[in-house]
Amino acid sequence: MDFDFEELYQAVILDHSRKPRNFGALPDATVTVSGDNPTCGDEIALSLKIDAAADKLEAVGFTGSACSICMASTSLMTTKIKGKTRGEAETLLRDFQGMITGQMPESETPKSLGDLRLLSGVRKFPQRVKCATLGWHALKGCLAESGEGKFSVGTGDADL
């Protein structure tokens, strides 16, 4: 198998795509944002239970169907944001975008991204960047919604 490809589909990523964490509806969600990638048919709906008083993302869940990169990226994301504050989630979002678009030099990729750094290979596959960012668009949508309810964001692209 090819080097680039192996890098794109590392074991951790394949594992998350096959057994996505926090997968499933979140009945007591305060906000749900769905996003879809019209080119390939990926569809993701991300739900958060936000405790506004404590400024905490108390619970997180997602549903949908998507390619392995999208599933893995979203699954990894959920493991990183659970229990975090809005501000922490926003920082993560910015760091992830910097990494995935190649705007941030590989050497500067923050350690705090953890296993998400395994997705850095995606930058070599421009059309797959949309896959890797779809769940993050939904996260951005959730954080931007001040009210509660269900919303949707448009097409996934690199411009988070």
Partner: protein
Amino acid sequence: MHDLAKHAPTAPDWGALRRDFPILDQTVHGKPLIYLDSGASSQKPRAVIDAISRYYEHDHSNVHRGIHELSNRATAAYEGARERTARFLNADKPSEIVFTRGTTESINLVAATWGERHVGAGDTILLTELEHHANLIPWQQLARRKGAQLLYVPVLGDSGVPDPAKVDELLTPAVKIFAFTHISNTMGTINPAAEWCARARALGVATLVDAAQSAGHCPVDVAAMGCDFLVFSSHKILGPTGIGVLYGREERFAEMPPYQTGGEMIVTVDWHDAKFKPAPHGFEAGTPDVAGAVGLHAAMDYLDAIGRQNIFEHDRDLAAYAYTRLSELGGVRLFGPGTDRAGLVSFLLDDVHAHDVVTLADQHGIALRGGHHCNQPLHRKLGVKSSARASFYFYNTHEEVDRLVEVVEKVRAFFNR
């Protein structure tokens, strides 16, 4: 057997023809390029590329408006392409050919003019479930605007064949227009266009045939087919991007209001009123894509020198071979008819997303398409989000299919490890 499949006398030298396509002589990710995405857009032979350059190097000017030599040449080139297109389709007259940007614009034009005038509240517009978004959304928009009803001939599951019983049931005099694809870009289904047009005509129903996938792949004869409108894109039949064709039967064009307005399409203009030319110029506002028409002309010459019947059989052979080999792999879901299919194959591997297949294939130099191929509702009906598609043209070979099958096996192995 399907009537398009009559046997042709001579076999072209496919290897030599392939060498006419400069783009195919390259490596991608270190592997020889295997281009299996002609259904999205074909590659261009040297003859087409050079015709465009030559036009700009010798003859370019605006058309119709001028009376100098270059303008005469440009006008002759442009109108010559129209005349060539009429022959390509066996239309009665060049004035039945309108140049547009492509299939999508051609259909939009018909929906916004003929449709606007002839489809009213309660009328029916009939499509099939196979339609590309280009032959679906313009009608959906028209139906919503008019309060008309949009009905679909359903396909029989994964076979991709429109249910014949449903055609009988749905094709009634309440239908104003029956718009359907000749060859499905996802399923490879070849629809019985002549038969459907004849039945529609007997009921007074207008017909539009989406020939985007057929015009460059098999003989297309509007007289034999008996359609009212037929549309295709240059870029899928070896020609340049940016130009396409709307064939309209003379009587149909005559009953249509103008579409876009501006220069070239008027007879007289006053401050508050204007008189418009009839077809074809009345539907071509503004400076047309002259170089595009020249390139399309060269493409049609090239195709007809090979023979579209020959191309049809070549591509079908490849697709049938790919279908058989892929189905032998196991764990592969194949879409479209098992026999009498056109030159493309869509498929899915169990538990592997199409995007992952296409990304891996690309790493091996193979250009496949993955997604819903602008057939989103059809994919939804089949219970999938997307599929992978290999679409063939006469420059593809059996060896390339073998290579595809190898790579698909590798993908399966990789994701099942």
